[in-house]
Symmetry: C2
Subunit: 452 residues, 2 copies
Amino acid sequence: MATRIAVIGAGAAGATAALQARKFSRDAEITIFNEEKYSQYSRCGLPYTISGKVKDFEDLVLMPPESWASVKIDAKLGTRVTRIEHDAKKLTFEGDESGELQYDALIFATGARNADPPIEGLDKERVYGLRTLDDARVLANEAVAAKRGVVIGGGLVGMETAEAFVERGLEVTVVEFLPNCLLAMVDSDMADIVEEHCRQHGLKILTNTAAQKITGGESPEGVIVKSRQTEEVTEIPADFVVVATGVRPVTDLAESIGVNVGKSRGIVANEKMMTNLENVYAVGDCAESPEFITGTGIVAGLGTVAVRQGRVAGINAAGGDVSFPGTVGAKVTKLFGLEIASTGLTEDTANKWGVPVAKGSIKGSTKPPYFTGGNDLKLKTYYNKETGKLVGGQLVGVEDAAMRLNVLTLGIQQDIDVAELFDFENCYAPAICDTWDPLVQSADAARRRLKM
Amino acid sequence: MATRIAVIGAGAAGATAALQARKFSRDAEITIFNEEKYSQYSRCGLPYTISGKVKDFEDLVLMPPESWASVKIDAKLGTRVTRIEHDAKKLTFEGDESGELQYDALIFATGARNADPPIEGLDKERVYGLRTLDDARVLANEAVAAKRGVVIGGGLVGMETAEAFVERGLEVTVVEFLPNCLLAMVDSDMADIVEEHCRQHGLKILTNTAAQKITGGESPEGVIVKSRQTEEVTEIPADFVVVATGVRPVTDLAESIGVNVGKSRGIVANEKMMTNLENVYAVGDCAESPEFITGTGIVAGLGTVAVRQGRVAGINAAGGDVSFPGTVGAKVTKLFGLEIASTGLTEDTANKWGVPVAKGSIKGSTKPPYFTGGNDLKLKTYYNKETGKLVGGQLVGVEDAAMRLNVLTLGIQQDIDVAELFDFENCYAPAICDTWDPLVQSADAARRRLKM
């Protein structure tokens, strides 16, 4: 009898799982459920539908609903799984279609939902999150209708959304509770550079500032904020508000059948992406899996990780045996032309997870000094103080930051130490970069410090 | 007694050797000789003095003559070592200074000289090579004086020089004997893309064509060329000619004291950069050292390798003990905005050196399909057919080709196989690249072929 695979959620992780299961097994019976009427689209692309860098909402859809039939996957869109009886290997679904389904393997790809912060007035009209294609459609309208917006939360989604509105000519303020934006990604000194750059491009940023209340009637008139340093309270005028204060894994269905949830609040999955229940998998934004260096259980919240986990779960559910190597956590974005890139541990996570680190920090250039058109590149690499192993890196610059990060990520995956990064034979040409790449220079700086 | 180190040649390799010897040892007595009156300048930057991308010739000078004294290195510029009596550890020099010098360690960094092809008329005025700063000065004048030029040889130097003249508005023809340009760097199919791109930007290229004779009186009037396919003979009008048909290692002095020269015609050096004679080193364009994958002795002819070898020889000569890990051979250039990048083995060198290869070849994009502004990226990765190990890669594209190459080079240095490249966690953001980077896609393509 063919294996029956049920995938709950058709985002990047779920859709990839279903498609890879099909690729691995011609005769598996695969069903995928999605609450949204859409199936796999690029969530990371949503902010760019506001700025117009993604021209059409439909362009983001990577797996159009009608395509599922062609790969013999039963896609039940606009449909919610409401109940699972795992003893009987049976689930119940409701929505555009209703009914029951027997399964042999179950893949949770239920994603995350926006976490609402304790702020008054979140229930007003024109207060938005940005998680779905429908959210993006509404926000794109605000780019035309509104003049002033406030984005609460200076993480990746918040900053990318704010950038989009600034590029559409709006007056935008980001309110960040922590001392800097993007602290889940980079250290404070790097974030300072980013904030300065964004301010120069017209974005207002208030850090160390708590959003307390959205004022106004049905719609916002402003956001009352309080400086955590000076305790000064001010109101920022706003026609609309975007709340981007992070997300929570969606785990209720999984928990209902006894699947374990970890400290990160994600569903605990091993390197096969399997949960504590046999043939039950969890992938993507709902799943907790080991961070590459320390093995700490983390919810990566990254598209790259989602598709890689999805592939592993899909193949394994269909009878294969592949492993997910762990999340290094390579992250990148581009704000007003500035690339911000981070991989592995930051100073903060290294401390939190008990890894003693030394760093190589340099301010280099993307081109040799004699060549016109080079740009500043601020670069840090982190090493385990005891072993000299590369454990993280951060780059900020208007070119070649992200691509350089890739070298560090592969280096971490290959467990290289500072001497090996110093011995890295970067390519060189005057029009491209210098003979000793900034990456090698940073290893050199750290090598002296580590005496390795 | 302090070690006495003599370095012959103050190019990238020699200058780095001297400086690193000083860094390692405060009291070493270091003397560096150079026939040119300049010392270390960026040879690779020379073509860009013609186009103006390097603004001033002096900008290329990385180690101005007056700087040597500040690091207590005796730099004898405009001075030639004419004779070495190695039994007596003594050398004789002539030129701006003349005399004799005792040494304990000797470093050959004598570089290479242009190899003159068998073409009639090379002795005319306005027939040039491009190897020295003085060559570049003269060629920069031709960019003003001349209207039409012919470049004989479509390797890196030939193509970069031709590009520079086209950018200055001249009519330029490259004549290449082989079926394609840049074949020391990329396979024919990649070279085809490059040639097409250069032609679209106004460069004339004749491949599979032998330059036979430079016509004219004191100065050239044209170059007579013969198609190797059709045997058709034509004359290309030219006000000046650049000969860029490759270089030969300068080894005569070394050979005079019994230092071994290898099949590549370079001075054979081991991983300590030491020759067959104790405390005699060879580095840079005059040295043959092991290629990383096969151990074949090669003259790399690369600035990156020169400085790395120079560092190793300098430290070892001063009493240290470091090793050069071998040359992967990462090469890159940019022609009319197109990046051409290559590392490790090409199909050609793999065949020549007996490595059975399988490849992953893809035509990808630098951005996700839904994001505006992505560019084509043609990419190949090569693997040892028996072991699955990554042994080479080539990329051509108008952005992010060179930086992606760096990932492949580190991969080769870390001995990764196709499965490990497939597991590479590239960074991803819509404005930067797609979730499965083209590098990973190429590994995926090869993995299927290799069944790994």
